[in-house]
């Protein structure tokens, strides 16, 4: 098991290295330069600035320098916020993003499971169609549309919650809901499909033949088996939350990593773009790893296979 984890960590490292390399060169291909906004500077002043940040070096040299720093945990200094190390910016900003992402994932998954479960129990009835409709709407309508709707209804019209900004729990409610719609829809569809299949399986008939009650069938025998595969989609769900958060944080003016990323791209703040990208990449691979390990824990079939390795 330890060897398995070590191997996975090694793959994770390789993945991050490749992502860092690819995004470094992609970023260099972005149109414009960090100095676009500062047109007032004279040509010689520009040269001084470019020199200071090492932007006059050939790209491969810049790459080597950057990777050298990266290995030591140094993500460079932001161009936009004078002399602030990118690491500090990220540390500052991870809090709101993580909180929001976590809340959205938990709320979305739980609601989705409930919705999918209801649909599977009352298969082909009105409740099933309602839940399927909600799920389809949830997957097909982009989250920023929901965000706008939520702001309009609950903040502008009803005045129940703040339109935007950050600070207290009430600020997190609308963005959490907007972000949770997607995972909810995914979880609902997934749970319904799995549950319908499980309820038709032979071991459910065995359980019925034992005299197990309907609630026992659903909660004890059905749901657990239906939910194990759901763990595998939590990874992709978390990833889609990260991309969703870029827009949502922007709309609700939340000082998170997503918002930082968007701002940094606008002004070609290379070190910060790299930093946020790597942060996202790291979270992504870390989540996948955790999910895989978790899957092994809850599914006895895999637990054994892993243990005997």
């Amino acid at each position: 098991m330890t060897r398995y984890i070590l191997r996975r960590l090694w793959y994770m490292f390789i993945t991050l290295f490749i992502i860092a390399t690819v995004s470094f060169f992609l970023m260099k291909m972005l149109p414009g330069s960090p100095l676009n906004a500062e047109d007032k500077l004279s040509e010689s002043q520009k040269q001084i600035v470019l020199e200071k940040y090492g932007l006059n070096d050939p790209v491969p040299v810049q790459y080597a320098k950057y990777m050298g720093g990266l290995v030591k945990g140094d993500l460079g200094i932001s161009f936009a916020f004078d002399n602030t190390p990118v690491t500090d910016i990220l540390v500052d900003r991870i809090g709101p993003s993580a909180l929001l992402g976590f809340q959205a994932l938990v709320v979305g998954t739980l609601l989705g499971i409930l919705l999918g479960l209801t649909a599977s129990i009352f298969r082909n009835g009105p409740l099933d169609y309602t839940s399927t409709t909600i799920a389809v709407l949830g997957t097909s309508i982009p989250s920023f549309v929901f965000a706008g709707l939520l702001q309009y209804v609950f903040a502008v019209k009803l005045g129940l919650l703040p339109v935007a900004l950050w600070g207290e729990f009430k600020h997190t409610i609308l963005p959490t809901i907007a972000l949770a719609i997607h995972p909810m829809a995914t979880a609902a569809r997934f749970t319904r499909t799995e549950m319908v299949e499980v309820l038709h399986s032979n071991y459910i008939t065995t359980a019925r033949a034992k005299g197990v009650t309907e609630s026992g069938i659903i909660w004890k025998h059905g749901l657990r088996n239906a939910l194990i595969p759901l763990v595998t989609v939590i990874g992709p769900m978390a990833v889609s939350l990260m991309t969703g958060s870029m827009v949502i944080e922007q709309i609700f003016a939340i000082p998170g990593i997503g918002e930082q990323f968007v701002t940094s791209v606008m002004v070609n703040d290379y070190p910060t773009i790299m930093g946020t990208t790597l942060m996202f990449a790291f979270l992504f691979v870390a989540i996948i790893l955790v999910i895989d390990l978790l899957y092994g824990l809850i599914d006895p079939r895999i637990r054994l296979a892993g243990g005997s390795k």
Binding site: S201, N202, T205, A207, R208, G211, R301
Partner: protein, 349 residues
């Protein structure tokens, strides 16, 4: 005294898009304590549907259209689902065909056995555990204490079927239904499971309904045999009746098509044609189109059950006093003799 189980004119249908599928069209039989009834017949003849109907566990759009299932005189057809939940696993239980899929993959074996005990016999976990270990012992699983905490994937197919049998036996059911319990297993394991079922039969005195394709198995385990075709029992008798004195041409065909250890492939007989479509069961004798001995009356009128002896009945017009005297074809006769002989030998071991 009345019988342990009496099934009277049971009819089961499925509502489908294409209409009503009449899977079982009037099945009657009875069963005493300690008796084993084998139900045989081609695929699709309604064996599984009959057994699921006894437990009222019909899949999908299946429903009992008519008839009675009297367990110690009480009609199960009239019971509500709630009441059936108290009967299933306690008075009637079931062993299924495919041991690879009939156990919950994420629940420990021990818990799967204990579940019924806790529910039906009000046992606490400790007593249920003791009893479960006892059961695993009884079905021949070594190291039962260790096995209790394992999951199904840690068991071989034969072992799983033993576990399924342990689950079915947990509450000493009055009736045990086994739907092709050995079909999915290889030959040596099949023999072991059959041996186990026979032993258990002696010990717990349940009545057993044994569903199978395999007439060899029937000779080995059963007291009585019901031969099903197109949702009906077309011949019913003791093992001796069916093997030495079969009356229905369909039974002849089944006997003729079963391989025996000393038969070659060329000798095997295949019943021509295919079973009828149960959406529109034919008028007259459903077997007539495939029956080389069919009489004219077979195409217009369904034969009633003719009595051959006190234990032996068959639904074929050949038994009518006015019918021509037709003997089973010579090849089938030889085959069924040879087959019955080997069956007997096995049984005496």
């Amino acid at each position: 005294m009345s019988k342990l189980l009496e099934v009277k004119d049971l009819k089961v249908s499925f509502d489908t898009y294409n209409g009503e599928v009449q899977a079982v069209r009037g099945v009657s039989f009875d069963l005493d304590k300690g008796e084993t009834l084998a139900i045989v017949g081609e695929s699709g003849s309604g064996k599984s549907v009959t057994s699921m109907a006894l437990m009222k566990l019909l899949a999908g759009q299946g429903f009992i259209k008519e008839g009675q299932v009297l367990l110690e005189g009480v009609d199960l057809v009239k019971k509500s689902e709630k009441e059936m939940q108290k009967i299933r696993g306690k008075d009637i239980s079931m062993v299924f065909q495919d041991p690879m899929t009939s156990l919950n993959p994420t629940m420990k074996i021990g818990n799967q056995i204990m579940e019924g005990l806790i529910k039906h016999q009000n046992m606490n976990r400790e007593n249920a555990k003791k009893r479960a270990i006892e059961l695993l012992n009884q079905v021949g699983i070594p190291q039962p204490e260790v096995r209790m905490n394992q999951y199904p994937h840690q068991f071989s197919g034969g072992m799983r079927q033993r576990v399924v049998i342990a689950i079915a036996l947990a509450c000493n059911p009055k009736v045990l239904i086994a739907d092709e319990p050995t079909t999915a297993l290889d030959v040596t394991i099949q023999a072991q499971i059959l041996e186990l079922m026979k032993e258990i039969q002696k010990e717990v005195d349940s009545a057993i309904i044994f569903i199978t394709h395999d007439l060899g198995v029937v000779a080995n385990v059963a007291d009585k045999v019901a031969v099903m075709y197109a949702g009906k029992i077309i011949e019913m008798g003791t093992v001796d009746d069916i093997f030495y004195n079969p009356k229905h041409p369909y039974t002849w065909g089944l006997l003729g098509s079963m391989p025996t250890p000393d038969s070659t492939d060329e000798e095997l007989y295949a019943i021509p044609g295919t079973p009828p479509n149960m959406l529109k069961p034919p008028v007259g004798d459903a077997f007539a189109p495939r029956n080389e001995f069919a009489l004219e009356i077979d195409t217009v009128m369904e034969p009633p059950m003719f009595k051959v002896s006190d234990t032996h009945y068959a639904a074929t017009w050949l038994l009518h006093p006015d019918a021509p005297n037709i003997e089973p074809p010579e090849t089938v006769k030889q085959r069924m003799q040879g087959f019955a002989n080997t069956g007997r030998k096995d049984g005496d071991k």
